[in-house]
C-alpha cells in the first residue's frame, strides 16, 4: 500500500517537474525567439528580410552594424538616453515621494481636491500638451537641451508616479510613524527614516515606469531638441526610417547594439540589484 502511494507521489512529482519544464521552456522560447530573430535579421539584407523573414542570411551583413554606428551616432545618443532616463527617474521619484507622503500621511484643507487635480493629469493625452510644453521650454531658454527633456518627462510622469506612491504609502501602518514620533522623530525624519525606506517597492514600481517611459519616448525628444548633442536613442533608431523607405536591417542592428549594454548591466549586476531591492524588506 505504502509502495503504491510512494509510486503515485513519485509519478505526481515527475509529472509536476515535466509540467514545470514545459512551462519554463515555453516562456523561454516566447521571450528569446523574438530576440534571436532580431539578432539574425540584423545580419540580413532588406530584400532577404522581406522575402525570407525566418531564414538565415546568405551572406552575413556586418555592414549593417557599421551603418548603425555611423548614421545614427549611437554612442552619443545612448549616453544621452541614460542621462535623461536616470535623471528624470530620480527627479520624479524625489518630487512624487514627498508629495505622496504629504497626501497619504497628513491632513490639510483641500487635500482630496488637490490630489484629484494632480491625478487627473493621468487622463490627459500627452500629445495634447505638445504646444504648451514647446512654448514653455522655449520661454525658459531650454530648447535643444537635455534639461528640457528631463523636466518635461518629470512633469509628464508626476501624476502617475504620485498615484502609485500615494497608493503604496497609504498601506504603511501609521503605528510605525507614531513610534518614531515618540522617539523624537521630526516631520522630515518621519519621511526620510521611516516612510521612504519602507516605500522601496513602490519606488521601484514608479521608477521602472518613469525610466521606461523616458527611455522609449520619441515625440517630445524630437519636438524639444534639434542637434545630436541633445538627442536620445529613439531618434537615432528612427534615422533608418525615411519618407518612402525603411532600412529595417540597419535599424535592427542599432536596436541590438542598444540592447547589449542593458543585458550586460543586468547579467553582471542582477544579484546586487535584487539584493538591494529586497534588503530591509523585513525591517519593522
Amino acid at each position: 500500500m505504502q509502495a503504491v502511494a510512494a509510486q503515485r507521489l513519485t509519478f505526481a512529482g515527475g509529472t509536476a517537474r515535466v509540467g514545470k519544464w514545459i512551462v519554463l521552456i515555453f516562456f523561454f522560447i516566447f521571450t528569446f525567439l523574438p530576440l534571436i530573430w532580431l539578432l539574425i535579421s540584423s545580419f540580413k539584407t532588406n530584400l532577404e528580410l522581406q522575402t525570407n523573414a525566418f531564414g538565415l542570411p546568405a551572406i552575413w551583413q556586418f555592414q549593417n552594424y557599421v551603418n548603425a554606428v555611423q548614421i545614427s551616432s549611437l554612442p552619443r545618443l545612448f549616453l544621452n538616453s541614460v542621462i535623461v532616463s536616470v535623471c528624470s527617474t530620480f527627479l520624479t521619484l524625489a518630487v512624487t515621494s514627498m508629495a505622496a507622503f504629504v497626501f497619504a500621511r497628513e491632513k490639510f484643507p483641500l487635500q482630496q481636491p488637490l490630489l484629484n487635480l494632480i491625478l487627473a493629469g493621468v487622463l490627459v493625452p500627452i500629445i495634447g500638451l505638445m504646444a504648451p510644453y514647446f512654448r514653455l521650454v522655449n520661454s525658459l531658454g531650454l530648447y535643444d537641451s537635455l534639461v528640457a527633456l528631463i523636466l518635461t518627462y518629470t512633469g509628464i510622469n508626476l501624476p502617475i508616479s504620485t498615484f502609485l506612491m500615494h497608493g503604496f504609502m497609504k498601506t504603511i501602518p501609521a503605528e510605525l510613524e507614531e513610534a518614531a514620533e515618540i522617539d523624537g522623530a521630526s516631520f522630515v525624519q518621519r519621511f526620510t527614516k521611516v516612510v521612504f525606506p519602507l516605500s522601496r517597492v513602490g519606488l521601484v514600481t514608479a521608477g521602472t515606469f518613469v525610466f521606461l517611459f523616458s527611455w522609449n519616448e520619441f515625440i517630445y525628444a524630437l519636438l524639444l531638441t534639434s542637434r545630436t548633442a541633445s538627442r536620445t536613442l529613439q531618434l537615432g533608431i528612427r534615422f533608418f526610417v525615411s519618407q518612402f523607405f525603411t532600412d529595417y536591417t540597419s535599424m535592427f542592428a542599432a536596436i541590438v547594439l542598444t540592447i547589449i549594454p542593458s543585458i550586460a548591466v543586468y547579467v553582471f549586476l542582477h544579484e546586487k540589484i535584487i539584493k538591494g531591492l529586497t534588503s530591509g524588506a523585513l525591517k519593522g
Binding site: 532588406n46 522581406q50 548614421i71 542621462i83 528612427r238 525615411s242 525603411t246
Partner: protein, 422 residues
C-alpha cells in the same frame, strides 16, 4: 552602497550640466552672418540626404560670412510633421522648412507666420517653375511656400515576367487585364502586389485611386464617396485580391511586403513613385532593368492618366528683417536653380516641379517617369491626399474586411463614408 549611489548621482548631474551647455552653445558665427536653421527629414537614409548636404555645402561656401544654412536633422516624416505643426501652432515657425502641401498645413496661409513669396515669384524667378506649380502653391492670391518636389505614381510592371507569360504589351482595359492576369498565373507568377497594412494601405490605395480616376476623371475627388463610381473602383480593387491575383500575405502586409514581392520577382505589377528607384536599383538590379511604367488599364470613361501632384514645398518663417528675408529668398532661389534641381533629381530619383532636363546618363527608369508624366492625359491626386487621416486609416481596415469576404464593395465604401461623417 549609499556612497556609490550618491557618487553616481553627482556624476550624472555633472554630465547633464556639461552636456546641456554643449547642446545649447550653438556654433561659431562670423559677425553679421545670418544663420538660417533648416529642419528637414531629408537626412539619414533618405535618398535626398546626400544631394541636400552637397547643395548646402556649396551654398554656404558661396555666401561665406554672409549667410549660413544649418540642417537640423529630423528622423521620421510623421514626427517631423507633428513637430512642425506644433511649432506653427505655437507661432514659432523654423527659419526654413519642408512644407507639406496638404489641407492642414495650408491653413497656416491664413496667418502671418509664413513668409510671402508672391512678389518674388512674380519676377523672373517664377519662370523656372513648371506650368501650374505656382498656382498650386497659391491660396487667395498669396504664395506662401515655394513649389518643389512633385510625385508621379504610375503602374510598374516587370517586362521579363510579362515576356515569360507570353504577354506582348501592357493591358489597355480590364478585359485585357484579366487575360494577362490569367497568363501570368499560368506561368506561376502572381499578377499584382497589394497590401492592406501600414497607415494607408499604400499600394492598394493607389490601385483604388487609379481606378477611381479612370471612372471619375480629373475631378474625381470632388465627387462624394456615395457616388457609384467609388463602389465600382472598390469592385476593381476587390478583384485584385481574388483568384490568386495577389500574394497571400497582402492582407495585413505593409509596404515592405508589397515592394518586397515585386523586387523578389514574385509579382509582375506594383505601384510606387520615383523615390523607390534608388531602392530597387540597389536591392534588385535585374528587376530594376526589366521595369516599365504604364497607366492603369482603362476602367471607366477616362484613360492615360497618372496619379501625381505636389509632394513637398519649401516654406520659411516670416520676418521683419529685410536682410533675413533676402537671405531666405537667396536660399530658395539657389534650391530651385535648374542645375541644382537636376543634380538633386539625378542623385535621388525624385522629380521636381521645376523646368529641368535629365542628363542622357540619368537612370533609365527615372527617364521613364519623365516620359509617362509628359504623356499623361491628366494628373490627379490619390485618395490619401483628398481625405483626412481618419478616413485614410479606415481604408486599410475596411479593405482587409473586403479582401477576407466580410465586406462587399458597397459595405467597404459605406465604412469610408461613415468614418468621413464622424
Amino acid at each position: 552602497m549609499r556612497r556609490v549611489i550618491s557618487t553616481l548621482i553627482v556624476l550624472v548631474l555633472a554630465l547633464v550640466m556639461t552636456t546641456s551647455l554643449m547642446a545649447t552653445g550653438g556654433s561659431e558665427m562670423a559677425e553679421g552672418e545670418i544663420t538660417l536653421d533648416f529642419p528637414t527629414f531629408w537626412v539619414g537614409q533618405d535618398s535626398k540626404s546626400g544631394p541636400i548636404a552637397s547643395l548646402l555645402e556649396t551654398f554656404n561656401a558661396m555666401h561665406e560670412g554672409e549667410i549660413r544654412v544649418l540642417i537640423e536633422p529630423n528622423p521620421s516624416t510623421d514626427g517631423y510633421r507633428d513637430k512642425l505643426n506644433t511649432q506653427l501652432a505655437s507661432g514659432r515657425a523654423p527659419d526654413l522648412f519642408v512644407f507639406a502641401p496638404d489641407p492642414t498645413t495650408f491653413q497656416y496661409y491664413e496667418t502671418d507666420i509664413l513668409m510671402d513669396f508672391t512678389d518674388d515669384l512674380a519676377g523672373s524667378w517664377g519662370d523656372v517653375f513648371s506650368g501650374g506649380q505656382i498656382a498650386g502653391a497659391t491660396r487667395n492670391g498669396r504664395t506662401k511656400s515655394v513649389p518643389y518636389e512633385v510625385s508621379i505614381i504610375p503602374i510598374w510592371y516587370n517586362s521579363d515576367l510579362f515576356d515569360q507569360a507570353g504577354i506582348d504589351s501592357f493591358p489597355v482595359d480590364l478585359a485585357e487585364f484579366q487575360v494577362a492576369a490569367t497568363a501570368l498565373k499560368d506561368a506561376g507568377i502572381v499578377p499584382t502586389s497589394q497590401m492592406t497594412g501600414g497607415s494607408n494601405a499604400w499600394t492598394s490605395m493607389l490601385w483604388f485611386s487609379h481606378a477611381a480616376a479612370s471612372l471619375g476623371g480629373p475631378g474625381v475627388w470632388d465627387l462624394p464617396l456615395s457616388d457609384p463610381i467609388f463602389t465600382q473602383a472598390a469592385e476593381v480593387l476587390r478583384s485584385m485580391y481574388l483568384d490568386g491575383n495577389t500574394t497571400r500575405d497582402a492582407v495585413g502586409g505593409d509596404a515592405g511586403v508589397s515592394g518586397g514581392h515585386y523586387m523578389a520577382g514574385d509579382t509582375a505589377m506594383f505601384i510606387n513613385g520615383p523615390w523607390y528607384i534608388g531602392r530597387i536599383r540597389g536591392d534588385a538590379p535585374e528587376v530594376h532593368a526589366a521595369t516599365m511604367l504604364a497607366s492603369i488599364p482603362q476602367v471607366g470613361e477616362y484613360s492615360g492618366h497618372q496619379l501625381g501632384g505636389p509632394l513637398s514645398n519649401l516654406g520659411a518663417a516670416n520676418t521683419t528683417s529685410a536682410a533675413r528675408r533676402d537671405a531666405v529668398v537667396t536660399w530658395m532661389q539657389f534650391m530651385t536653380e535648374p542645375a541644382n534641381v537636376r543634380m538633386m533629381s539625378e542623385s535621388s530619383g525624385a522629380l521636381f516641379g521645376i523646368k529641368y532636363e535629365l542628363g542622357a546618363d540619368a537612370d533609365p527608369l527615372q527617364q521613364e517617369f519623365v516620359r509617362v508624366a509628359s504623356e499623361a492625359s491628366f494628373l490627379v491626386d490619390h485618395f490619401a491626399s483628398a481625405y483626412t487621416v481618419d478616413v485614410v486609416a479606415e481604408f486599410g481596415q475596411a479593405l482587409a474586411e473586403m479582401a477576407l469576404g466580410e465586406f462587399t464593395p458597397q459595405e467597404f465604401i459605406q465604412a469610408l463614408i461613415d468614418k468621413d461623417n464622424e
